[in-house]
Symmetry: C2
Subunit: 106 residues, 2 copies
Amino acid sequence: MANKINAKYQEMAKISKALAHPTRMFIIDKLNEKEHCVCELTEMIGVDISTVSKHLSILKNAGIISAEKRSNMVYYNLQCSCVLNIFSCVLDVIQSNIDSTKEMIE
Amino acid sequence: MANKINAKYQEMAKISKALAHPTRMFIIDKLNEKEHCVCELTEMIGVDISTVSKHLSILKNAGIISAEKRSNMVYYNLQCSCVLNIFSCVLDVIQSNIDSTKEMIE
DNA sequence: TGCCTATTTGGCAAAACTGCCAAATAATGT
DNA sequence: ACATTATTTGGCAGTTTTGCCAAATAGGCA
């Protein structure tokens, strides 16, 4: 075990890994507007409900979203608005990439 | 193909995926201080140089870092400081998770 | 040219991730 | 208790990621 990467980076990668899927990015974007149950998200996304449930559990596990059971439905919310900052920072990086590409062409 | 997730989320996930590894998070943190060649990073990380090279190519491919060849070494730099914002946002999420856990215990 | 150092690439096996189906669990209403 | 609806869990096959080794590539220097 020669690897010297410490717990800090492990933890950071865990958060990033939780975001590293288009469906999960979509879910975060939707939960930003308002809470949603698994059913609603499944309808929007168009994959099997079990798949959506698993994506939600990954996000919950990373501490990014929280679940609240009401009646027989489970409503999900962003746990902390700070995730949205990551969201917009990622968009900044994408914009910066577009700018770099433009520069190269010109 | 019932999946309705669009290109925007694909692109965002791509960036996040590039960050989703402890070694790559470490590399970004180091490149923030100053540029480094593959050799130096390999020394710091403690894995095979080919592994480090592949991590670097993943980050480069995502437009997060840039490479400059000087003599027979390749020096890597952050392509855009905006990645650092993601970095600190991720740390915020971690801190928020810690706070939530604390609250739960009390 | 030949040698040395730095880096990248190809290939492979092990591990992790993804998405489906089926089954289990939970709450509600009959 | 039974049926219905919402959600989670287990399992499985297909795909992707990871990290090592070995080989290829590239630059500097004798």
